[in-house]
Amino acid sequence: MRSIRAAAVGAVTLSLALAVSACGGGTPTGGGSNDSPKTLTYWASNQGASIEIDKKVLQPELDKFEKQNGIKVKLEVVPWNDLLNRILTATTSGQGPDVLNIGNTWSASLQATGALLPWDEKNFAAIGGRDRFVDSALGSTGAPGKDPAAVPLYSMAYGLYYNKKIFAEAGISKPPATWAELIADGKKIQAKGKQAIGAEGASLNENVHHVFVFAKQHGADFFTADGKPDFTSDKVVAAVKQYVDLMAKDKVIPPGNAEYAQNQSVSDFAKGRTAMLLWQTASANLRSQGMNPDDYGITPVPVQSGTPGSGTQINSMVAGVNVAVFKNTHNLDGATQFVKFLTSDEEQKILNKAFSSIPPVKTAQADPAFNTPETAVLKNTLATSAAALPQVPSESQFETTVGTAVKELFADAAAGRAVTTESVKAKLLKAQQQMPAK
């Protein structure tokens, strides 16, 4: 027995030694270096129709960059499913890319880890200054009052897509501008045997994006000014209820949509089964589903008053992708140069055209390619009536807890259970209690 115990003690000691040595992963004080000035690793998010298509779009641009600056960029397009986990493991181990794309809603959370290079005045000056970027896009780059953790790269916004043919059949002459009009139009459409509007009821992200906008329209926020969760105020409850009521009370969202989380609502719309869809830049998707661009129109998401604007007339979140520099980079200057390259007018035009997004760089937006009816609506929304999701470190928990609450409310509505102010409040209270206590 003694030898077993000795072996066990030995094993534990060895494990601990290894465990402790394993912690040296990140270089906590490291601020980057210029040890390998000739290469860069770049993790790009998947923006186009597939990873291979993204590579075909990006590679020629990287070659161009190499020709201009003599720096070879090693590209990896990381699928969205894996991106955050990859970034987390990179952060923990200190072993990551030099430059990477992040979903802009993650900015504040990742900023809190301290793994990303802060974009102070000096760094911004190196890429042409802060002023080059649209304000709303800059609003989604990190917590307010701190140097941004990332720089806007691609922007997107929500619009209301509608099927022209179904609208004509139902005798609707112009798309709805208020929620009341939307519901009234929905009833007309349902009378013709079509579904009114689609939603991804089981998608946490989609749910959060929508209730965030509804809360804005009710003049409420999910977080207090000092970053504390405040999910149960009357206005927030009313906002969440208004969204869920589109299925529960107004019955314009079909109950089946409560389980959608794989973009089924887009394919319903593309097939002409639903007349309306709230989506961000759906055109490429609709095309690949076989829908003719002439068959649908796009208009701003309804607001309570009918005219989108700031304050309670907000009608979209600021969606998009930011580019960040990993603090542990071995090629700090090269990384900055590369960000400058990606955010240059020329590259902004090329890349945003290829990915059917909108350039967050003001001068690039002026390009006529971004004046098609669809992009004009989205561009205008971004410029005048879009707000960034809360820029707090616990943003990802917020998306999970509130998104889940809305998902459960939709499930209740679909099953025919009543959705009341009390039930909404109870779900939101539970969500709030699951937020980290800070």
Binding site: P28, P393, A411
Partner: protein, 332 residues
Amino acid sequence: MTTTVDAGRPTAQKSSRAAGPRRGRPGRSGRAGRAWLPYLLLLPALILELLVHLVPMVIGAVMSLKEITQFYIRNWTAAPWSGFDNYRVSVDVDAPVGEALLHSFFVTVGFTLLSVALCWLIGTAAAICLQDSFRGRGLLRTLFLVPYALPVYAAVITWVFMFQHDNGLVNHVLHDQLHLTDKPSFWLIGDNSFWALLTVSVWRGWPFAFLIVMAGLQNIPRELYEAAALDGAGMWQQIRRITLPSLRPVNQVLVLVLFLWTFNDFNTPYVMFGKAAPRAADLISVHIYQASFVSWDFGTGSAMSVLLLLFLLVVTGVYLAVTSRGRRTADV
């Protein structure tokens, strides 16, 4: 193979002698003299287990005593020690986090018991059915392994496809064709999601039990069946008296690992429901994933994992004690 054939014959005749009490300790000096040999044989396994399994488990246990949120993951050795705070949060069943964990735990226990029982039953029944040769046996044997050969992602996505409310096959059959329900049911949200998850888990899991039991059946000496047949035992009695008892050693391990894997299965619920499973199907592995990766709180996630480890250790200990005792008495 010739060795087997030649050596196999005398065995059957001598088998009564072989069941003596010398189990596990060959008396020949050639083996007993080399006490280091078993350790040498174990060494590669030992090194790998230590490196890839045990050290990470110890690191995980250390993490559970720290506050590892997004503010500290970059350099988690510097993260503040939080003592047993993470554990306290996890087991405080009056607060939402603890309550949700407990609920998830019960769901997982129920799900695991049902899934393992069904996988084992179907797998064993299928293996026994395919023991005798008949036309099409080879085909069925291959066919039954197909669910196991499909990539998890594809298999689960296909089931999700079939469970859809509006367009799925399941509602098409149950509602449109057989008229068993008044209106189409929801399978991916609400309470039914538990049964949907169970179906997928059994569909993917039973071929494994089938595979292992089938291999186990090959080691049952034919003489036993012949002797039983001479005694007048029918087919059903042969299965009960010979097949099932002979499978006991295989089953002991099979049921245990099926239990452990099903309990900790991550892929199936994750592909099926994503980051937030419906409450009725909130399995503990996804729950812990959510607590650690989605909420960026690896301390609490690790604490939950350690609690789970302790629970499963107890279950396994009891299980092994009970089944081993039963096995020993059965041998006598």
